[in-house]
């Protein structure tokens, strides 16, 4: 019985923590403090609910408890400052720290969305490193515990704990305001938020290290955060584009591994195992992005490419010329050697391996991707298709030596062996 209560508390916490922290942060103007106060409320729930039972409205209970803790702290703070003032301390030190008016409701329904949006922009503030942004977003918006975040990122728990403590301190010291940026700043700050969400998703979708190809919990959290963002900011085409991209990528989860847990590449996947529900959701989000008619951004372009694959019932039905064109657009919107590599692969499908090899060789000369295993894997693939098997084998071996993912390495070594037998 007690165990059930703990599972309920866990579920309630993960539903409510974001809005509680958001509502508190709006009042105390300090996200770190707000997070601690919310944690206090969680501790109180862990103390009371197993004996008193779970309240009818557990969210309101947590919110009220956190609010009371906040009042206690602020009263102490005010008292402290009053004393300082009596001692002739600098009045400026008081700054914003007046006891705020708690009489207006903390959980005004209209403010919840705004608070969550402020919270996500604060968690992804540029004073923080990308790693800290990710940890703080998972902690505050997804309600994940430090232990869960550590497990998901294959890191020791104290490392993550320290990262979060330091991030909160940095936000406090930099006096980062609890607000949604306006004007010119918005675009850059929004990109950072989307990048963090996509990074969380991708960390799960294509685990960069270890022997697990996917870590489904991060995929689900990333997708959930993106869906929430799409609701908070429905008129932003890049947000819709990111949701579309993630829905379509997630639709392939079931088809990405064989029975032995080895990865299956896109063109070889059993398309009947793609999740049509998620594909439908992804295509709908892409249509929303296109209807908004803003300047087409990188996520929307990547979603459009993913949609080309999703719409093709068989690999042969893929619209490669359209994909080549979309990668071309992506190269002007967000140029990168990785995008150019993908464009080369699409060119190989649209116009054959010889044309693509020219592009890939250009990338090899350029040197930016010298340590990128997929460049060598792609070059190996093109060489194999051109019947240049000895060179292909060398490239696959080179790629295998570079990847940190054990399953990917096995796949590449298999291709190297295959080339050797030709």
């Amino acid at each position: 019985m007690a165990r059930d209560v703990h599972r309920t508390i866990d579920a309630v916490w993960r539903l409510e923590s974001g809005r509680i922290i958001g509502a508190l942060a709006r009042r105390v103007r300090d996200v770190g403090l707000a997070e601690e106060l919310a944690q206090d409320a969680l501790v109180a729930a862990l103390e009371h609910w197993p004996t008193d039972g779970v309240p009818d409205n557990p969210g309101a209970w947590l919110m009220a408890t956190a609010k009371n803790r906040a009042l206690d702290r602020l009263r102490q703070f005010a008292l402290h400052h009053q004393k300082q003032q009596e001692l002739g301390a600098d009045a400026d030190a008081r700054g914003d720290h007046v006891v705020p008016d708690f009489s207006d409701s903390l959980d005004d329904a209209d403010d919840i969305g705004d608070d969550l949006l402020r919270l996500v922009f604060t968690a992804c503030h540029p004073v923080l490193s990308r790693e800290a942004q990710v940890a703080l977003t998972l902690k505050m918006l997804a309600g994940m515990s430090t232990a869960e975040i550590a497990r998901a990122f294959l890191q020791p728990e104290p490392t993550i704990a320290q990262r979060i403590v330091r991030a909160k301190r940095t936000l406090g010291e930099a006096h980062v305001p609890f607000e949604v940026p306006r004007g010119d700043a918005l675009q850059a700050r929004l990109s950072a938020v989307l990048e963090v969400v996509y990074l969380i998703f991708n960390e799960g979708y294509s685990a960069t290290a270890g022997d697990d190809w996917t870590r489904p919990a991060l995929v689900e959290e990333g997708l959930r955060l993106a869906r929430i963002l799409a609701q908070l900011s429905p008129a932003t085409s890049e947000v819709q584009g990111l949701v579309a991209l993630m829905e379509i990528q997630a639709s392939r989860m079931r088809a990405r591994l064989d029975a032995q847990g080895k990865p299956i590449l896109l063109m070889a996947q059993d398309r009947s195992r793609w999740d049509q529900l998620l594909i439908g959701r992804g295509l709908a989000a892409l249509a929303r992005a296109e209807q908004l008619g803003d300047e087409v951004g990188p996520y929307q372009l990547q979603a459009a490419i993913a949609a080309c694959h999703a719409r093709a019932r068989t690999p042969e039905a893929t619209d490669w010329p359209r994909i080549v064109a979309l990668y071309g657009e992506l190269m002007s919107a967000a140029p990168s050697p990785v995008v150019e590599l993908n464009r080369a692969v699409a060119v190989s499908m649209a116009s054959g391996p010889a044309a693509a090899l020219l592009l890939v060789d250009g990338l090899v000369t350029d040197g930016h991707l010298a340590r990128y295993h997929l460049l060598h894997a792609a070059r190996g693939d093109l060489l194999a298709r051109l019947e240049r098997h000895d060179e292909a084998r060398l490239e696959f071996e080179r790629a295998a030596a570079m990847t940190a993912n054990e399953r990917e390495r096995a796949l590449l070594l298999e291709r190297a062996r295959e080339a050797a037998t030709r």
Binding site: D10, R224, R271, S272, W274
Partner: protein, 145 residues
């Protein structure tokens, strides 16, 4: 995990009585909350069983019966598909749902089988086959829709 949340029928829903405007509005708000929380995948309401049919299987014979069907409380009036982290989360969300009918109602939460569940239950070769057939069927249905 994915769950199907099933709203069971009652006398009113089976009689085709439309819920009062306040309930309609409350349900609309609730659905909005589900979408905002990022858990709603799909949802629909079903017409009364008087509009439905039932196909009974006995060995190789098939018998088609027109609705309505008697066992009102066992019938389905509507459903959601949710993506949740746990059954506990689904329960928390259902607790927040307005009473879907005037009078007594039941809502049932059922976890949906995932490919991994199949893999745990069946030998690997068979599991592969079953899920492939299963999604093959789904794809055909999707293609028709």
């Amino acid at each position: 995990m994915r769950v199907m949340v099933i709203v069971k029928a009652n006398e009113n829903s089976e009689a085709g009585v439309m819920p009062p405007a306040e309930l309609f509005e409350a349900m609309g708000k609730y659905n909005e909350e589900l979408i905002k929380a990022g858990i709603m995948l799909a949802a629909d309401g079903l017409q009364p069983s008087s509009k439905g049919v039932r196909v009974h299987f006995s060995g190789t014979s098939r018998t088609v019966t027109d609705g309505p069907f008697a066992e009102t409380k066992e019938l389905v009036a509507g459903f959601w598909l949710w993506q949740v982290r746990s059954m506990e989360e689904a329960i928390e969300w259902v607790r927040r749902c307005p009473n879907p009918h005037v009078g007594e109602s039941d809502i049932e939460i059922r976890p949906i089988f995932s490919a991994e569940d199949f893999a745990a239950l069946l030998p690997p070769e068979l599991a592969d086959k079953v899920t492939a057939q299963d999604s093959d069927l789904r794809e055909k249905l999707a293609a028709k829709a």
